[in-house]
């Protein structure tokens, strides 16, 4: 029997005035997934996440939580979900404990003080819970936000850019916490980020959206495979772009920024490309195969510009 998704987005679309923020986006998240939601700033990630939670109403499309249609009349389904959307804004004049206790009471079901202490322990805030939130660092607020999201033991955690505004130490700790929530506590997690290496390190499946549209969705390892075919070249010649475009290599050029050019091609063709670049007098400074999701992401999202000659 086919596994039922914990949450499913079907053909979600949302416009604000003439601006189409999300267009026909569909995806499913299953038990145990750490599902990465990638996109540049303004790509439509937060709008999509807000539609999943009923904060924003879609113009078209539907959301299903555990197979049941989710809308304003079935908000009880949110007991299966815990979320931190954008910043974890909390009542600053209350203590961490009061914030946690208040939101726990609104989360459905009876939640004991023992459970509150347990989640505080998981997020590493034990001992600071009686401090007023206004004295918390950004990282502490994020961790309290996650404690609030998971206090009622939901099936799915939705974390929108959880490392935003954190210092490097905070980012590292947050990454460890999310990995721990997945591995030690078996949480299904939907995490969005524009910091692609984070998704690369944490997610098992992912979706990439660009300008409100789904570009690609699937298993991270499978999606990463094409990245092995990306070649990155740094050139000295400022007019290299016109020479490349007018050559047979123009069709393989997927992305260009400054003096760096990214080609999608087999690694075995690298010597041939190098030979041509030298013969064309373009001044090769560096040539390498790239393996990062970032390059893959840029190659996907900038493909249309490259084809339009906008590189």
């Amino acid at each position: 029997m086919e596994q039922q998704p914990i949450i499913e987005a079907r053909n979600l679309s949302k416009s604000f005035g003439n601006f189409a923020a999300v267009q026909d986006v569909s995806f499913s998240i299953y038990q145990g997934d750490v599902y990465g939601f990638l996109g540049q700033n303004g790509a439509g990630k937060s709008t999509t996440m807000r539609m999943l939670l009923g904060l924003i109403f879609p113009d078209n499309g539907s959301v299903y939580i555990k197979g049941i249609h989710f809308n304003n009349n079935s908000r009880h389904l949110l007991k299966h979900v815990g979320a931190v959307i954008e910043r974890p804004d909390l009542y600053k004049y209350l203590s961490g404990w009061d914030n946690l206790r208040m939101f726990a009471k609104l989360s459905g079901g009876k939640i004991t003080n023992e459970r509150l202490n347990e989640v505080l322990d998981v997020v590493g805030l034990k001992g600071r819970e009686q401090d007023k939130v206004k004295g918390y660092s950004q990282g502490m607020k994020q961790r309290l936000g996650i404690a609030i999201a998971m206090v009622h033991n939901p099936d799915l955690l939705i974390l929108d850019e959880p490392t935003n505004g954190l210092d490097p130490q905070g980012i590292y700790e947050m990454r460890l916490l999310i990995q721990r929530l997945s591995k030690d506590f078996g949480k299904t997690i939907l995490i969005s980020s524009h910091l692609l290496y984070e998704i690369e390190q944490m997610a098992t499946r992912m979706i990439i959206i660009h300008k409100g549209k789904k570009v690609v969705e699937g298993d991270v390892k499978t999606l990463m495979a094409p990245a092995e075919n990306l070649m990155q070249v740094r050139l000295q010649n400022n007019n290299a772009i016109s020479a490349i475009r007018s050559s047979e290599w123009g069709d393989l050029l997927t992305y260009h920024e400054g003096d760096t050019y990214t080609f999608k091609m087999p690694q075995t063709d690298m010597p041939v490309l190098n030979e041509w670049l030298v013969s064309a007098g373009l001044g090769v400074l560096e040539i390498k195969s790239t393996h990062s999701l970032e390059s893959y992401f840029l190659s996907l999202t900038n493909n249309e510009h490259a084809k339009a000659g906008a590189v």
């Binding site: 908000r75 004049y93 209350l94 989360s107 609030i148």
Partner: protein, 276 residues
């Protein structure tokens, strides 16, 4: 959920500003009456004393309380707006509304709970007003008959006939404040920061109050439909005989406005995209 909402309201220092303002205004008037009350009374009753012999404790707690209530006519609604205008928009501004709405609670319930919490706050403020304006005044100035001066007549209410009138007047005032709270809540649902709805509520009340009190023929037609006209219905309890029909009409209008404002808020909030 209501307990949580009240906890939030009464944990905020700004909530107590209203109580401090009411106390300050009441005490300033009481001090002024202590210092110069006799001259004020003899000046106010000048026309009356020419034809009537008035004896006894005229400058009593009931009279001072009545003067305080008259002067707080505009201020109290503004103080209600300070909290009720903040309950939705303030949370939107802080970003906590976003977190609140990710919880499995219906939006209608959230609006109703916030309205009832604002109402509780209004009732507490009215009760506090009763304590400082009436209780303290009676304590300082003692009891006595109340002379209610009107533009073309005056009413004398015997001291044993006064307490129930104050209870009824404060009850009516609570209803009027419910209308103010519901208006502030409605404006609060449209905005993403608290300043707009608070200022908006104050603006609407001040403008409509001007329409309600100006004796111009052009406003005569609309006057009876304005809720501000009916907010001063509490004064009827200090007439003799009490105009029960007019008071009931005013109470009905206020109740209708309250229900309408809350209903529109629920309708709007259930369709609102939370983008803050």
């Amino acid at each position: 959920m209501l307990r949580l909402e009240l906890y939030k309201i009464f944990k905020r220092p700004r909530t107590y500003i209203s109580f401090a303002i009411v106390t300050a205004i009441a005490m300033v008037i009481q001090l002024a009456m202590l210092a110069d009350g006799k001259n004020f009374i003899s000046f106010a009753l000048q026309a009356v004393t020419e034809q009537f012999d008035i004896q006894g404790n005229i400058l009593n707690g009931y009279l001072v309380a009545y003067i305080i209530l008259q002067s707080l006519l505009v201020q109290i609604p503004l103080l209600i707006a300070l909290v009720a205008g903040d309950v939705l928009a303030g949370e939107a501004g802080m970003g906590t509304l976003r977190l609140l709405l990710t919880k499995p609670q219906s939006r209608t319930k959230i609006v109703l709970v916030k309205f009832v919490a604002s109402l509780c706050y209004a009732l507490m403020l009215i009760t506090w007003l009763a304590v400082v304006a009436l209780g303290l005044s009676v304590l300082i100035f003692g009891e006595g008959d109340l002379i209610n001066l009107k533009s073309d007549s005056f009413v004398v209410l015997l001291k044993h006939d006064i307490p129930w009138r104050y209870v009824a007047a404060f009850g009516f005032a609570a209803l009027a404040m419910a209308t103010v709270a519901s208006l502030a809540l409605l404006l609060s649902s449209f905005a993403d920061n608290a300043i707009g709805p608070i200022m908006g509520t104050m603006g609407v009340i001040v403008v409509l109050m001007i329409f309600s009190t100006l004796e111009l023929p052009i406003f005569a037609v609309i006057k009876k439909y304005l809720f501000t006209t009916h907010m001063i219905g509490w004064k009827g309890f200090f007439d003799d005989p009490v105009p029960y029909a007019a008071i009931l009409r005013s109470a009905t209008v206020l109740l209708a406005y309250t229900v309408a404002f809350v209903s529109i808020t629920i309708f709007w909030f259930n369709r609102k995209d939370i983008k803050s």
